[in-house]
């Protein structure tokens, strides 16, 4: 196990204990942390498709919404237990992503726009299929997360621990894929697709797998979110914010890194809610936008590489 991984595990262990210990009694702050982890989950899923698959998606709201609705309907209409419905909802998102496979033939902005269109189609479907989704009126009283072995997952601390576990699992999966031969081939495909295909890489198949994995992760997070907020309506579940915020977070944190998108999501969400919102209660997103613009201009690789480079420089200076 290298130093980086040891640090990640240690940090995770600290987070499991320290955050509930420090903030557990503050429902508002824990709520913000839970929301930031939801954005982080989608940001990791988005970055997996963007970084490994080389496909910039503007439509992850589609998977998020499908996952939320699927889990809500599976639990409410079929009586499936919540903790089983959540991964099933991820699979439903994968199933819906199959409809997007033709878009894999496109690249760059064409792919991004096609996925955006899919997200809109799913939103319209959720609105129009009233017999199933209750249309624009939405679904209320979605079951809360259950209590397992006496531990209430529907409490803020429970939600936090569940989301942190999912996020850790996503990051581990992302890292494992990235290190595998498939991950190496995927990274190579970005700027040299013909060069990889000509040595036997089935680029369409690999991209499809990345789309499925990304859809699954986003669907699962969408499902958890549905059981956290207990209410869904199409305009919320398929809102563009679920497509845009993860992109902003991933770019801010460093979308070429594995953990950057997650860290970026948590930092951006919490700073926006706790600092910028306190400074400018209406339109605080303007400050967020400005910070992002500055990051892109002066640290285009994102926050994590920026911190790493700063640390290296400090170590270099101390050794000199």
């Amino acid at each position: 196990m290298n130093a980086m991984r040891r640090t990640a595990f240690a940090l995770l262990a600290v987070l499991y204990v320290a955050v509930p210990a420090a903030l557990g009694s503050n429902n508002y702050l824990m709520g913000l942390v839970v929301s930031s982890l939801i954005v982080a989950g989608v940001a990791v899923a988005w970055a997996l498709l963007g970084n490994l698959g080389g496909m910039v998606s503007f439509g992850h709201a589609a998977f998020f919404g499908v996952g939320g609705y699927a889990s809500a309907l599976l639990t409410m209409k079929l009586g499936i237990p919540v903790l089983l419905a959540i991964p099933l909802a991820g699979l439903v998102a994968v199933l819906f992503s199959v409809a997007m496979l033709p878009a894999l033939r496109l690249s760059g902005p064409y792919f991004a726009l096609a996925i955006l269109a899919y997200a809109q189609i799913f939103r319209i479907l959720a609105t129009e299929m009233e017999f199933l989704t209750h249309g624009s009126g939405g679904i209320s009283q979605i079951p809360v997360l259950p209590t397992i072995a006496g531990f209430d997952l529907s409490s803020r601390t429970g939600q936090f621990l569940l989301l942190l576990t999912l996020l850790a699992a996503f990051l581990a999966a992302y890292d494992a894929i990235r290190r595998s031969h498939y991950g190496i081939a995927l990274r190579a495909m970005h700027d040299s697709e013909d060069a990889t295909r000509v040595v036997g890489v089935n680029s369409v198949l690999l991209k499809s797998w990345m789309l499925f994995v990304s859809a699954f992760m986003t669907g699962v997070i969408g499902a958890v979110n549905a059981h956290v907020i207990n209410f869904l309506e199409p305009d919320y579940a398929f809102s563009g914010i679920w497509s845009v915020l993860p992109i902003v977070a991933a770019i801010f944190g460093g979308y070429r890194t594995v953990t950057g998108p997650a860290i970026g999501a948590v930092v951006i969400y919490l700073v926006d809610q706790l600092v910028f919102k306190a400074l400018v209660s209406t339109g605080h997103q303007i400050i967020l936008g400005s910070v992002l613009a500055l990051m892109i201009l002066f640290a285009p690789d994102g926050l994590l590489p920026l911190l790493r480079n700063a640390l290296r420089r400090m170590r270099g200076a101390s050794h000199a």
């Binding site: 031969h181 190496i184 081939a185 190579a188 970005h190 700027d191 040595v199 089935n202």
Partner: protein, 247 residues
């Protein structure tokens, strides 16, 4: 080993390759020559699967019809190719380039074999370098061939792999190609402009002009063909010592 039957390629109103039929065995080194725009690279693209030919065209390889087969499946069948402008896989080291080629082209990873290929292509010292940004032109050209070798090919398609190299580097590269042919038993189809190189390296030469095959034979026959001289060389043919590379 490789057979093209009535291959035609059209790009809109332009016919880049017209009704070409051609056959080569796996024990041959064949040169493909012709002026710029004659259709040589397009023909390579048809064989390797990057360009789909017009209906009625057929590409057969190792006994099977591969005309409609996707690019990656052709590579797995044993068709290795290099690009005229080297295309290293970005973000990867030289070794990782070979790992990807071996894993997906040959279906397994054998680190010892990768070491042997690196050694064979004089890339051992460059193995951990960034392939896209850390190599000189001749190293990139060697990497092109090394990647193709890692897929364990039966036939190598080499697109101007010697172009841009200085005389000494070119001779060394030619010796390497001969070694590959003789020791690994690889068939080689090579696009090259230099007549001397072709004459000393190849058993056979095929000449394209305006998308048509205008000559096919030994280097001696081809480079003394008046049609070839007129359309391609514009100079006196090199007849003496032609075709002795493998004689």
């Amino acid at each position: 080993m490789l057979e093209l039957a009535n291959v035609t390629v059209r790009f809109g109103g332009l016919t880049a390759v017209q009704d070409i039929s051609f056959r080569m065995g796996g024990d041959q080194v064949v040169g493909l020559v012709g002026p710029n725009g004659a259709g040589k690279t397009t023909l390579f693209n048809v064989i390797s699967g990057l360009v789909r030919p017009a209906s009625g065209s057929r590409v057969l390889f190792a006994g099977g019809d591969i005309t409609r087969l996707p690019l990656h499946q052709r590579a797995r069948l044993g068709l290795g190719r290099s690009f005229q402008i080297p295309q290293p896989m970005h973000e990867l080291t030289v070794r990782e380039n070979l790992i990807v080629a071996q894993r997906f082209g040959a279906g397994r990873v054998d680190p010892r074999k990768i070491d042997r290929i690196l050694e064979l292509m004089d890339l051992t010292d460059q193995a951990e370098r960034d392939a896209a940004n850390g190599l000189a032109l001749q190293e990139l050209k060697r990497l092109e061939v090394a990647k193709a070798l890692a897929t364990e090919p039966k036939l190598l398609l080499l697109d101007e792999v010697l172009a841009g190299l200085e005389t000494v580097a070119k001779r060394a590269f030619m010796a390497k190609l001969r070694e590959l042919h003789e020791t690994l038993g690889l068939g080689i189809l090579i696009i090259e402009h230099d007549i001397e190189t072709i004459s000393s390296l190849c058993h056979r030469v095929a000449v394209l002009d305006f998308g048509q095959l205008i000559a096919d034979g030994t280097p001696g026959e081809v480079f003394s063909n008046p049609d070839v001289i007129r359309s391609y060389t514009g100079a006196e043919p090199v007849v003496e010592n032609a075709g002795v590379g493998h004689a």
